[in-house]
């Protein structure tokens, strides 16, 4: 029997409780011991209009990407769900409400559109909810109950998730929701008892440690909190807003503060000010906001002020596609801003890395006195994974500042050109370590100086400093067999999971292919990247942008033109698409 790998979708109109149901499903699947990766999409516009879809992939092995095809669809609104049919497997199971409030014309029920091999299960979601709770509202819960019964998922895992969600709303609400769940469960147990054996039973898995469900955004927030964040400045923008929401709730509990600024320029200004004063601070934004921040980011590079900035990418350019995913801010993150303004850019590839890279970035920013940009995207921010609970590491909490030697008392040079390029930094107000600082090019003492020699020297120093940071930055990781490869797939960010899945599938079929994950976008580890590339006949960069931005950045390390696979569909990268491309190249 093949390992469980199932993708479950819930689709409805906003107001149907679709997203809530998706959340409960993730919680329950996680509690049942599955690895979970989920991604919701919902209308950009004001709540109350539009389609909501939650997609959850659950399985025994670690889930890294979404699947192309859905195995189980729960339709809470047939009109909306029709659009999902092309994404269903041939043998998909479809749960729908067979007792809509009114009779519908031909084609208005999802049943009209299913292919013959699909398995429709008509379940009176609304009526069952009304039957036990008095209102149709709880039909998202009856749908979950139905799902649990049909696929043999443990009811107590769902009960637990429901309790966690609804306990705060009072016993009555909790009770109504539990009853709705049980009604759906019991109905399917009774009604479909002879059909149950036809569909694969999922059951539950042994847990490998207690898992925690986190979204990328939550992981980022948690990472920042655990690293000792004191101040958060921000201005709302999709998809970064949940970070501010999370911190607004949690940061004050730890004695910190969240401040909503008038815009992104003010936000980055606040971050620079805090770090300048020696306190850890952060801002998070998306492409349009990041563009506004670039001048002050460049300022931080020249004035050598630490900063942590999350750029949660979305479809661009400019306002672009606010609720879609894309990886097209790489150029802006690495190069955005006036002048040669080298900075550190880290790109997590999963929820766990969202936590660790964010937590790490504070110490890096302090040590290298530079902005650190954590580059995520919509799909990574909003995906939910159940990960091993992140561990708060001492090195992330530890102050990264390189303070001046006490012997320099009175003779302190703030921008001293050391071997590493790291000039010891004093916190303003330290007696005997007073310094000048400016966004103008300056001497080691901090006096403005436009002389050619000085500009040459100081620019080189700052770049040397950033290059030197490589030792502290996550190394590229290879996923390949020994020896020469027909193809190497180099990948970053949210695309990594799909790429790895595609490569492993190809490897499983005997193809000589490998993958490399790049987490440190800038500076990058040229040597290890080059040595991987040299083992490969061809190099492929799958990216969710049109230009091939990582390929442009590091493709020159290969001895011939690299291949690209660029998608700007607004959707997460598909493992199948990459796999197909791999096969095409290799054969």
């Amino acid at each position: 029997m093949s390992a469980v790998d199932v993708t479950i979708e819930i689709c409805g109109m906003s107001g149907d409780g679709t997203i809530a149901a998706g959340g409960l499903l993730n919680g329950a699947l996680s509690a049942a011991g599955f690895s979970v990766l989920a991604f919701d999409s919902y209308p950009a516009e004001i709540r109350g209009f539009g389609r909501c879809v939650t997609r959850t992939r659950a399985g025994e092995s670690e889930m890294m990407a979404l699947a192309d095809k859905t195995s189980i669809l729960i339709s809470l609104d047939d009109e909306q769900s029709r659009s999902r049919i092309p994404f269903l497997r041939d043998d998909a199971v479809v749960l729908f409400d067979n007792r809509p409030v009114v009779y519908v014309g031909e084609g208005q029920s999802i049943a009209a559109h299913l292919e013959p091999k699909m398995n429709p299960f008509g379940i009176p979601f609304g009526d069952l909810a009304a039957e036990v709770s008095g209102a149709r509202r709880g039909r998202n819960l009856t749908a979950l109950g139905a799902l649990a019964a049909l696929f043999g998922l443990p009811g107590n895992a769902f009960h637990g998730a429901v309790k966690r969600k609804f306990q705060p709303k009072g016993e009555r609400v909790l009770d109504a929701n539990l009853k709705c769940f049980d009604a759906g469960y019991q109905y399917c147990r009774d009604t479909f008892k002879d059909r149950l054996e036809r569909i694969s039973r999922l059951g539950s898995r042994d847990k490998t440690g207690e898992r925690e469900l986190l979204s990328g955004n939550a992981a980022i927030s948690l990472g920042a909190l655990d690293a000792g964040l004191r101040l958060y400045f921000g201005y709302p923008i999709t998809p970064a807003t949940p970070i501010m929401e999370y911190l607004a709730k949690e940061l004050p509990k730890k004695g910190g503060a969240v401040m909503q600024m008038e815009d992104e320029i003010a936000s980055i200004g606040g971050v620079l000010g805090s770090f300048y004063a020696g306190k850890r601070a952060m801002t998070a934004t998306s492409g349009p906001g990041f563009a506004l921040m670039t001048e002050l980011i460049a300022h931080a590079t020249v004035a050598e002020i630490p900063a942590v900035i999350v750029d949660a990418q979305r479809g661009g350019p400019a306002t672009g596609l606010p609720t879609k995913t894309e990886q097209s801010d790489l150029h802006a993150a690495v190069f955005g801003g006036p002048g040669d303004s080298a900075r550190i850019v880290l790109a997590p590839t999963n929820v766990s890395e969202c936590y660790y890279y964010t937590a790490r970035s504070f110490g890096l920013a302090e040590k290298y006195q530079t902005p650190v940009i954590v580059l995520t995207d919509f799909f990574l921010d909003n995906r939910v994974e159940n990960i091993l609970p992140p561990k708060n590491r001492p090195e992330d909490i530890e102050n990264g500042n390189v303070y001046p030697d006490p012997s320099k008392h009175g003779v302190y040079r703030r921008f001293e050109d050391t071997k590493t390029g790291i000039s010891p930094r004093s916190i303003p107000g330290t007696e005997g370590f007073i310094f000048r600082t400016t966004g103008l090019e300056h001497t080691e003492e901090g006096f403005p100086d436009y002389s050619s020699a000085n500009h040459m020297k100081m620019t080189e120093k700052r770049h040397r400093k950033i290059e030197g940071a490589l030792t502290d930055l996550p190394e590229p990781v290879e996923f390949s067999p020994e020896g020469n490869l027909d193809l190497g797939v180099v990948t970053w960010g949210s695309t990594f999971g799909a790429a790895l899945e595609a490569v492993q599938r190809a490897q499983g079929e005997g193809l000589k292919v490998g993958a490399m994950k790049i987490s440190s976008i800038y500076p990058y580890h040229s040597d290890s990247i080059r040595s991987f590339m040299m083992r490969c006949n061809d190099i492929l960069f799958p990216e969710l942008n049109y230009e091939g931005q990582l390929a442009n950045l590091i493709g020159h390390l290969f001895n011939k033109e690299v291949l690209r696979f660029n998608r700007v569909t607004g959707l997460p990268m598909s493992a199948t698409d990459i796999y197909v491309r791999i096969r095409a190249i290799v054969e």
């Binding site: 007792r99 409030v101 009114v102 009779y103 009304a130 039957e131 008095g134 209102a135 149709r136």
Partner: protein
């Protein structure tokens, strides 16, 4: 605002009840069904029984043998809403569980010095006697049989209607001071003129006792019985022997009663032979199922051509028939197929193809069959003082129709004799609170009538009642299912803010966005002009024809602008 009561005789309001309280308007006797179901739910068994009795006189009897036209119309039985409420079984439960006596719910009026004679003590006669006695008339019933009850006693087998139940309800009528002379056949033992002299009015409610023959050769052979005569003999306790194999020809309750009775007196193989099909039967589904369970076979599309045999019956030749179109009366045309004859062997034939009134000696105008001519509105025959009602007037009908006819005739007589009406039909409108029904109750399964099992027991004691009756809890569960359609929900458009929360929670398309309403000449709303264009919406309206009275709209309305009114068709004392 409980208590604000208005009585209306506006045609608009009668129209409303007709459309929106389907069960009450389907009942020939206008039984206030939602009210008695509600009373039973509240544990008021006696009250529930009395409400029935006020309309239909014989709740215990009707709770068993009523033809249940109400259930066909019950809103709960609409396509998407499940099965109709078992109204009849609830009626029986009220009768089974009441504590008090079957006394008259009417207050007897001061005596009126007028005498009315009633011929026949079947349902029509009993109902008429009851109402006239309540109004203060002195009433005497003349009954040809040994005991009162007419067809109820002599036409319906005891396993469907225990005689004890019948006796109690007849007794309740007689206790009002109604005199009865049994064993007196009018026309044979005394004549109509004589009675007309003795009484200020004489009501003939003699029913239909003349079997309609098949009119085929061989009908007079030994072993050929008329259904009614067969039933009467068995009911009288006579020893009837039929043989092993029986064919019952007919499709009504009588045919089924005969077939089941035949099994109980020892027949081995009984078939009911239908001219049409099982699908066309008017007998209730439960009845058909129980009959089949007992082993009766139902055979269809056959028309008797000839009964075979020398002295006693040996078999029947049938034509195969072909069904045609549905006639206006809802029955399907059938035509025999020439040359399709086939023979079924049998030991006896019971012909239960219906009955009609038999002529009896009476003065005044008669029709070509010798039957007294009377009109159905005023019940008057040509001879002054002589009235006719019940099945004699209408042809064979149902118990509930006979009761209704009897009562109406009584009120006509009362009016003719005193020159005034005592009661009028009115629509009672009463402000009330939203229902306390729970939405989950709409999904309760229909409580089926428990029956005596295993089937063999039914043959050990042939008179034992087959339907054993609800337990108290079952009757309450079934009562919960009633939507209480006598409640009227209305949105006050003066206060409505068009938020449409009510539409969001509506269980079906019962709340409508409308541009306007359609009315008939009486001003009654007969339809809505719905619109999906927001600019054209002039009102948010509850369509009480679609409404299942779940009350969800009232609960969510932020403006509290949905009012509830109880609407009942009542007999109002004038």
């Amino acid at each position: 605002m409980e208590g604000n009561i208005v009585y209306s005789t506006d045609p608009e309001d009668f129209y409303y009840v007709d459309i929106n309280v389907p069960c009450q308007s389907a009942c020939p006797a206008d039984t206030n069904i939602p009210a008695y179901i509600r009373a039973l739910f509240e544990g008021e068994y006696q009250n529930s029984y009395d409400m029935n009795r006020a309309a239909n006189i014989l709740p215990g009897v009707l709770g068993r043998v009523c033809s249940r036209p109400c259930e066909d119309k019950c809103r709960h039985g609409e396509a998407e809403l499940g099965l109709p409420v078992n109204i009849c079984h609830i009626k029986r439960a009220a009768s089974d569980f009441r504590k008090g006596k079957a006394a008259s719910p009417f207050n007897a009026l001061p005596g009126i010095d007028k005498k009315v004679g009633i011929i026949g003590s079947g349902p029509a006669g009993l109902a008429a006697a009851h109402d006239l006695a309540c109004l203060g008339f002195s009433v005497t019933i003349y009954e040809a049989m040994g005991r009162p009850g007419g067809m109820l006693r002599y036409g319906i087998p005891e396993f469907r209607l225990p005689r004890q139940v019948l006796d109690i309800e007849i007794e309740a009528v007689l206790r009002l001071g109604v005199a009865i002379e049994t064993g007196v056949s009018v026309g044979r033992d005394m004549d109509v003129d004589e009675l007309l002299v003795k009484h200020d009015a004489l009501l003939s409610a003699t029913g239909c006792y003349r079997p309609i023959p098949l009119n085929v050769p061989g009908e007079s052979l030994e072993g050929v019985h008329s259904g009614l005569e067969f039933m009467m003999k068995v009911c009288k306790g006579e020893n009837v022997r039929l043989g092993d194999r029986i064919l019952v020809i007919g499709a009504g309750f009588t045919a089924f009663d005969c077939a089941r009775t035949a099994l109980r007196i020892g027949a081995k193989e009984v078939s009911i032979c239908l001219r049409r099909t099982e699908e066309d039967l008017r007998v209730t589904g439960d009845e058909i199922l129980e009959t089949k369970k007992e082993g009766v076979k139902i055979e269809s599309l056959m028309l008797a051509k000839e009964i075979l045999g020398k002295q006693s019956v040996k078999g029947v030749t049938f034509f195969r028939t072909r069904p045609g179109k549905n006639r206006d009366d809802g029955k399907r045309d059938v035509t025999p197929i020439a040359g399709s004859e086939f023979v079924l062997e049998t030991d006896a034939v019971i012909v239960a193809t219906g009955q009609r009134p038999g002529p009896f000696e009476a003065p005044g105008e008669k029709d070509e069959n010798g039957l007294i001519i009377a009109d159905r509105e005023f019940f008057r025959a040509s001879r002054k003082g002589l009235y006719v009602t019940g099945d004699y007037l209408t042809g064979p009908s149902t118990v509930i129709e006979a009761v209704a006819m009897g009562r109406r005739a009584a009120h006509r007589i009362a009016r003719d004799l005193t020159g005034k009406a005592f009661y009028e039909k009115a629509v009672c409108l009463k402000d009330c609170q939203p229902t306390d029904r729970k939405r989950p109750w709409d999904f309760l399964p229909r409580q089926e009538m428990p029956t005596l099992t295993p089937v063999e027991k039914r043959f050990e004691i042939p008179d034992i009642e087959v339907e054993t009756g609800y337990l108290k809890e079952q009757s309450r569960e079934e009562a919960k299912r009633c939507y209480l359609c006598y409640l009227h929900y209305e949105i006050d458009m003066e206060r409505c803010i068009y938020c449409r929360y009510c539409i969001d929670v509506a269980p079906r398309d019962c709340i409508k966005l409308v541009n306007g309403v359609e009315t008939n000449d009486d001003g009654a709303i007969i339809g809505f002009v719905e619109t999906s264009e927001w600019e054209k919406v002039n009102a948010v309206i509850i369509d009480n024809k679609r409404c299942i009275r779940c009350g969800e709209c009232v609960r969510v309305c932020p403006m509290d602008c949905i009012s509830v009114t109880k609407v009942e068709l009542v007999d109002r004392k004038i």
